[in-house]
Point group: D2
Chain length 379, copies 4
């Protein structure tokens, strides 16, 4: 996993172009694939790297230092494989998913062999509320037919397969998940045109495909979000790592520019760098601690994950804004890394769980309440 | 001057396109011209609107609410005409500028008749340090020959004339100012590609022109920045007005989006709007007070101008960042006014005098020192 | 009213002792009385100073610079007299209060003659909710009998008379107000022992008194808070002035200490002073604008008053905290003005309407709602 | 070391009185002594608890949660014993201090047996600049005579012995350290009357004593600050732990008060608690990481220690200020734990290294400079 650190300068060099063109960071993923990092969360018995979550967040942090968009795309892949790798077999067994272990291993082995997975869960105007999901599947001869209109699919058009959630047409309460290979019935609608994190290409994707039985994740209907239920850290903490990396990149760039322009003696430059360094380091410490607790199955893990997300989103936004003041007016020029980092970083606190939601969640917890039950709903 | 208020919705509608294409807001200036606002700072005796500085800052504020870039371009024009209109005749007289009143009135009348003036003072790598200026002029038969490479010329290519500073080739200590009409020898080099305030088109402009004697501002060499010496408010306070307008536009847009999406009951939405409203209103109050003192020739005017600049730059950056959290993830989509306002606003504190410089200046003043003599140099 | 400015150094000298002992600032009020300032809000026809609200806030600001506690006590007096002086006669007439003008003038003349009035409205555990008020009065031969347990009575034991609200025993919906002279039946229970604003002596006061008919304010029962309904600015904006004065005093003291200890060249000292100066000046500008709108009867006055309160409370707390960092560790020593100002200032945002309530109120207003109807209740 | 956690409620109960009276928290130290915690930093071979620095900071954190003043006094003792316990024998050997190991063990054994050590290094107007130190010692028959006027001696009058630095009268460049038992020649001048951390009793102490040779720490002259040179973490990081504990205590108290008064549903209460919880947890994570690096002898340890100090000082001040807004106006009443915690917490950023110094130090480090060489001097 040390390769990621070494990739950082090369990713940075390519980041400008991908941001400008909102293009997929192909070369970044070629490097990640070649380094075997698509198998990062896959256990050693399947020839993956078998990373812990604690190890993963450091990888995500360095990806964020290189190119935040690459980090976010990779995150979805790591989330799919990481959640599958850590989902307890017993859960699947209880649900009667006899094929689960075999099917899971197939997916994980695919990752080791270089398949990049994307997640197609969200729908426009639905957010993460499953109850409003319009995507449907029907049992047909030889498998399933799936029609789905999904949004915010990071890596759209470049993933090798998509994890798609849909309802059973006849029994809408049953929501199942399918791994859909990138084939003819998968159409990308290039809707992603944003201020920041442009290169994630989180476009809309339309699915109209017939799938073999093996495409049903876990081999049984109704296993939704195996991952999400047991692994909220994949929805919250792994984003945090990327944004902390973005913030660190801003500090590094601002320091470099200040040195180049002989501004290092300016007290305002020093104090801005110093305070930013402390804030970003604090977010990183918090996240690493959260990740260790996740690995240990500690009941406090959730609380630390929410803390890390709040700190990361805020530190990323504040730090990049301040680092532009270090560099001065030249920081707004296209091509200056700081202006891209500033735009990318602003997305962090807005990604669910937003900073305001995190703060409310943590406040309820501090009051001794049950934050999952009573915290301010938002997305 | 009420017309400006009514222009706001139309300016807003056009702002997206000008930002995307980094194109000059032509229609905005057509409207301003038709409303006679190019003559805003010209005295009534020359058929101008004869605005006070206090009245002007409200106009600039509303331009900022409409399109910050328009406000900044207009600002340069208002600065040239405003400084000329208020420069004491005695100063010119002392300098032996017998033609000064007539020449000044010509320029001012030009504005009333619809000429838009731009300012071409800065040079790359020189900042505002006159001592490093490379632009030169020579006396020639029938006037002057001028060669100059200028940077950060807002409205480049669209102004009717440019106020250019240059040194006398034979006597480099003499810096004079010329009003150069937009003719063949004026070439725009489209270098302005920035994160924010894209539509100001503050490109590099190269001058290689022969000018009649009447082009010499004030009719006498060596009158540099008549304006700047006596009118620091044009360099600092008028920017502030535009950025406060940008911040207000963000509040208005966020409130509109929150209402449309039924988020008005969310406490975090309300508290963000409330705190932003207070901060922006405070900056506006401070600026208006500063402008009144400028008009009154009050010795405290400078201090209040620096306060206003600091507050405006910070309030603009903080407010637009917070308003994006009100609107949520949709705020980063291209086309959402908030993402443009966020990028535009970030430029405020970076424009000289930067927030850090303002804070230092004010700190020295609070300590009873002479801030012009001892404050931290920076740009 | 210029005398107040000159009183500042003398008030400051006495402030330490009054804070330490939580004692009433007698000498301050002797000076205020001698300068005729107890009649500040009384119209000229009654030989008062006839100050506008705009003029008053400057007086309150300077009192805050001298001793915040004196400012808050004076505020209650100014509120009583100011509200009476500006209450429209028509309102009283409608209510059948024939004697109203005469009785009002008596009270106002009392102030001109040197009577200090205190306000005894709040009750423990009741806050400002009139519906839970336990104080009662009964009509008796020759007037009224009143029994009341009041809390937070600034100036308790030193006021010449108290404005007390109570319910009619027989008709509890009728709440009336009485001006109760400081006599035997008025007992002070010294409950005020606080971190800040110690010298206000806002103790509990118990009333068990028989009053002549003339004690009934306005001469008619049921006129409650004539003032409060029409004059929210007395409940919110006038506090703001005092706390802005406290914040300014902290800047002045920090600058003085920095100069004495040769710290003026330290950049962190300068930037802290500069930013504090801008924030405090902004709050002051906002408040002055609010006060002008109050005087003009402008419908926007309320919104500006809430803005001023929010800004004042936050600026006072933030500024005094930062100024302690200017002075360094010596600032925590008893006797250093900054440690007192820091404790006093922290009370500002906590006094109703708290900063959080103000922010919510302003947020609702920014959303186009009716903040009085829908804003977060709190006190 | 778990006992400390259990002591917290009892320490809290006693804290009010010690703060009010600025009295030494005797019962706290009786408990600490009985739990063997005075030997916390003493190695197991001498029957101490042999804590790592990482373990120590958790103890200091919990002491801070109980009573910050107790934590700070204990800190000095832990610093003396911890620095001695970890000082490399080689250093002493090089200096020819043959008796060093034996003498060191005596001091450490004293701690295990219940002796509380205080530090008497600072002098008025000298700060930590050894070059201006006025304390002197002379060799006399049977040992040394020492005269010293020291300031900021936490635990003055209650320590069993004082670590005192002084110059050799004949050779003022030689600064030595003595462990002076609390005897007749040690006089406490009760100068400590402060806003916060009142119970540390950090009074001036005057020494006029004759000492046996064994009082010379390390048995050799010129070993100054054995500790400080090799262990900056004792000067910076251990304070941080106490202030983080103070901040956590404020959150706990505010949550308790909010629940008691049914304010838990208020969004502003929840968001304040949530954000404070994240900030304090981040400071704690950072400190714990710093402490682990100290134990590992990692070269990055210093940087993390400065980060922790900056975060702790700021989080303590900000958190306690915000928690008062959670509790509302009742928080300013004497007896409310929050008002004491607020006053205590404000001292954190002011204690060397101040937050401004830390920020500058970290900024220089971020720029790749040598912060010890070039950072802004201050104390």
């Amino acid at each position: 996993m040390r390769e990621v650190r070494q990739m950082v300068p090369r990713m940075r060099e390519r980041a400008f172009e991908h941001d400008r063109d909102a293009s997929f960071p192909k070369a970044d993923f070629t490097e990640l694939r070649e380094a075997g990092l698509l198998g990062i969360m896959v256990p050693g018995r399947l020839k993956g790297l078998g990373a812990t979550f604690r190890e993963y967040v450091d990888v995500a942090y360095h990806l964020g230092r290189g190119n935040g968009a690459t980090g976010l795309i990779f995150n979805m892949h790591a989330g799919v494989t990481g959640a599958l790798a850590t989902a307890p077999d017993e859960l699947a067994e209880e649900l009667g998913a006899a094929d689960y272990p075999a099917r899971r291993d197939e997916i994980l082995t695919g990752a080791v062999n270089g398949s990049l997975y994307a997640v197609a869960m969200s729908e426009r105007g639905v957010g993460s509320r499953l109850s409003k999901m319009t995507s449907r599947y029907t049992r047909v001869d030889g498998g399933f037919h799936l029609t789905a209109d999904k949004a915010f699919v990071s890596g759209a058009g470049y993933a090798d397969a998509y994890l798609v959630a849909a309802r059973n047409t006849e029994n809408p309460d049953t929501v199942s998940q399918f791994l859909v290979p990138a084939t003819d019935g998968v159409t990308v609608d290039p809707t992603w045109d944003t201020m920041g994190m442009r290169a994630t290409g989180s476009h809309d994707v339309h699915f109209d495909v017939t799938l073999p039985p093996a495409a049903l994740v876990g081999g049984v209907e109704g296993i939704t979000m195996l991952a999400a239920q047991i692994a909220p850290h994949w929805m919250v903490a792994s984003y945090a790592a990327v944004y902390i990396g973005v913030a660190r990149a801003a500090i590094e760039s601002a320091a470099e520019q200040a040195n180049q322009r002989n501004l290092a003696a300016l007290p305002s430059v020093r104090t801005r760098l110093g305070r930013a360094d402390a804030a970003v380091s604090a977010a990183l410490s918090t996240l690493r601690h959260a990740a260790s607790l996740v690995d240990a199955g500690d009941p406090d893990a959730s609380t630390w994950v929410w803390r890390a997300k709040l700190l990361a989103g805020d530190a990323a936004a504040d730090t990049t804004a301040s680092m532009m003041e270090v560099a001065g007016a030249s920081a707004i020029r296209s091509g200056n890394p700081l202006e891209r980092l500033f735009r990318d970083a602003r997305c962090g606190a807005l990604q669910p769980a937003t900073s305001d939601v995190c703060a409310d969640w943590l406040g309820v917890a501090a009051l001794g309440g049950d934050p999952y039950a009573t915290s301010e709903p938002r997305w």
